[in-house]
């Protein structure tokens, strides 16, 4: 039965589904990576995603315009980011606790809005799969790479873009400087507050898109707590990926592929208890973390509020 895993149907299935599953992780984790690179840990990603999910779904449902839905999710995520930035940058609040607070706020608020504005589980017609003439018809490859929706492609384009911004631009240099040595950056005239505001709001916006990718592109429904811990996995993926966009991509893909692998293991009737199968992606993630984490170093100023000494 193990050999059944290596048929083309199964391999194509695992790859196509892994690429889809990784989409929300990529948006959320790359946004989080920007924040952490500048020294801010945001544990509120899950809450930002949930509100993004709801905003995108509700606006898309009522206006019939998916792009407006996406925009709404981005605005809601950015506002959540703005609030997080105010609390952590201006008020110097402890980052971990504030993040949990924002998570609970997002969880509760999205639920409340759902109850008041929708009342029941509904469906919406989400972003369609894009058809590439010729390419989409290639057996296997077409199904894996050329039959996804626009938000899936966006997530993968974000990876090189984030790498470029972080490593090849002045902005990226400022972000890294603020995360490693805010005092030095400050003495060179870089506004620590402004850089952190930028990264946290950017992170919120991307978390909003992550939510939208679920509610109006991949699943096309809204249900309470539908992110179901996805935002916290995204935070873990930033550590997993050693604060590098490519590392985040590798982690997101690994986690998602193993998750789709375990679905196939059950479908093919390979005798592994379902409880063990569903644990596989988590166990693997922990193992890889243990094996790699000692070799990478977190941004020095991560979780430390910046206060000017004068």
């Amino acid at each position: 039965m193990i050999s059944e895993l290596f048929t083309t149907t199964v391999l194509i299935g695992i790859l196509a589904s892994g690429i889809r599953l990784a989409t929300p992780y990529l948006y959320a984790a790359i946004g989080e990576a920007f924040g952490q690179k500048s020294g801010v840990l945001n544990l509120g990603v899950e809450g930002q995603m949930l509100l993004g999910c709801f905003a995108a779904f509700y606006v898309a449902l009522t206006t019939g315009n998916l792009w407006l839905g996406l925009l709404a999710a981005m605005i809601v995520g950015a506002l959540m980011g703005l609030a997080m930035a105010f609390v952590t940058v201006n008020l110097h609040a402890q980052q971990g606790i504030s993040g949990i607070g924002f998570y609970l706020f997002g969880l509760g608020m999205s639920d409340l809005l759902f109850q008041k504005l929708l009342g029941t589980v509904e469906t919406v017609k989400g972003f369609p799969k894009i058809y590439f003439p010729g390419l989409s018809d290639i057996p296997g490859i077409g199904e894996i790479f050329f039959s996804q929706n626009i938000l899936v492609y966006g997530a993968y384009l974000l990876v090189p873009l984030a790498w470029f911004v972080l490593n090849k631009t002045t902005l990226g240099l400022k972000i890294r400087a603020v995360g490693e040595n805010p005092d030095a950056a400050d003495s060179l005239g870089v506004s620590v507050a402004r850089v952190r505001y930028f990264t946290i709001v950017l992170g919120g916006t991307l978390s909003g898109i992550a939510g939208a990718s679920l509610s109006i592109a991949l699943l096309n429904v809204f249900q309470q707590n539908m992110t179901s811990g996805l935002g916290f996995i995204a935070v873990a993926l930033v550590y997993f990926g050693a604060w590098k966009p490519v590392g985040v991509l590798a982690g997101a893909l690994l986690f998602s592929m193993v998750n789709s692998l375990q679905l196939w293991i059950q479908v093919l009737g390979i005798p592994v208890p379902s409880d063990i199968a569903v644990m596989m992606p988590y166990i693997l993630t922990i193992l890889v973390l243990v094996a790699t984490v000692s070799r990478v170093r977190a941004p020095s100023a991560l979780t430390k509020p910046f206060e000017r000494e004068d």
Binding site: L91, Q94, L104, D111, V221, Q223, Q224, W264, V278, P305
Partner: protein, 345 residues
């Protein structure tokens, strides 16, 4: 300043979050009845019921099945003046649920329902402290031998069997997919019954089962459905509230869907064939009658096809063939009169 800011954030956000999803006691909407059927003189004191549920009252699944049943009882008993319903939803944290159960009991409700097998051990501790209050919990048959606890469960394997028979008849490809939450309780009964129904109808059909390890992970439920579709399934079913993700994928691929717990036709009118719907009112009616007569617990109830606690509801928008519908009806009849026995693994 720093401490103050921290405190402020935590207090503000927590209070907001808790008001939205915490143990809130929400009054059920008033159901207007044209001609309330009141067989007895309206009691001066209304019968008061409180229910604690793991998900939302509109989850199109487990929690909604109980809430809808309570609304129907309220209608039967002549509206909110005679039958008061108060609920706490989204009590996925068992500790919060336990606090809510205790609150309701101390407020003097006649019946406090803990709608979720995960609440059992909390209830076992709470019930002896309130000997005047009647408690009910499900899905289970265990009353812990306590005189003020009722237990209720659904014979989900029966509706699962009927759905399985129909699914086997309608499948063209010979492969059927099942999306389950966690391999336990009500979900396992339904899935096992469904598989027995398929096997009894056409043993050559392959049923692939996927337990995703969560009641809430909509994204993974959706990918589980995709996996079934790639493996060749053209008929899918699934149980628990996260299946909304799976139904969407089935609809996209034009595969058929069989629902359970609540009527799921509204989610995808073109592909839902039928849903097994729980009508907990059969158990609730008996409990209420017993409570009024002074018996506060000690008995367990089963909702099944025979007593009307389970009903197979067809989707009017799906054109099912007369033969298939007749087959479903004869299967239901067979289960009720005992000519069909369901063997579970």
């Amino acid at each position: 300043m720093k401490k103050f800011a921290l405190l402020l954030t935590v207090v503000l956000t927590l209070s907001l979050a808790l008001t939205a999803c915490g143990p809130k006691a929400t009054e059920a909407p008033v159901i207007e009845t044209a001609a309330p059927v009141v067989t007895e003189a309206p009691a001066a004191e209304p019968f008061r019921v409180a229910v604690v549920m793991p998900s939302a009252i509109n989850d199109l699944a487990f929690s909604q099945s109980m809430y809808d049943a309570l609304l129907r009882i309220q209608e039967e008993m002549g509206g909110p003046d005679n039958f008061e319903i108060v609920y706490s939803e989204n009590m996925f944290v068992v500790d919060d649920a336990a606090a809510a159960i205790r609150d309701y009991a101390s407020q003097g409700f006649n019946l406090v329902i803990a709608h979720g097998s995960q609440y059992g051990s909390s209830l076992q501790e709470i019930a002896p402290d309130f000997p005047e209050t009647s408690f009910a919990w499900g899905t289970t048959v265990d009353t812990f031998g306590q005189p003020n606890i009722f237990a209720y469960e659904a014979a989900s394997q029966e509706g699962g069997y009927v759905n399985g028979v129909l699914a086997a008849t309608l499948s063209q490809t010979g492969t059927i997919g099942v999306v389950g939450p966690i391999e336990t309780g009500d979900a396992k009964l339904y899935v096992d019954g469904f598989m027995a129904g398929v096997a009894a109808t056409n043993p050559s059909i392959t049923v692939n089962v996927n337990y995703i390890g969560s009641f809430s992970d909509v994204a993974l439920a959706s990918e589980a459905a995709s996996t079934h579709l790639s493996a060749g399934a053209d008929v899918l079913t699934g149980t628990a509230q996260m299946v909304v993700g799976a139904i969407g994928k089935a609809e996209e691929a034009g595969a058929l869907w069989f629902g359970t717990q609540s009527n799921q036709s509204s989610l995808a009118p073109s592909i839902v064939v039928a849903s097994q719907v729980y009508h907990w009112e059969v158990a609730l009616r008996e409990m209420i009658a017993l409570i009024k007569a002074g018996t506060l617990g000690g008995q367990s109830f089963v909702a099944n096809l025979e007593n009307g606690g389970e009903v197979i509801e067809f989707n009017p928008d799906y054109a099912i063939s007369d033969e298939a519908k007749a087959l479903a009806e004869s299967t239901i009849k067979g289960i009720v009169d005992g000519t069909i026995t369901i063997t579970l693994p």
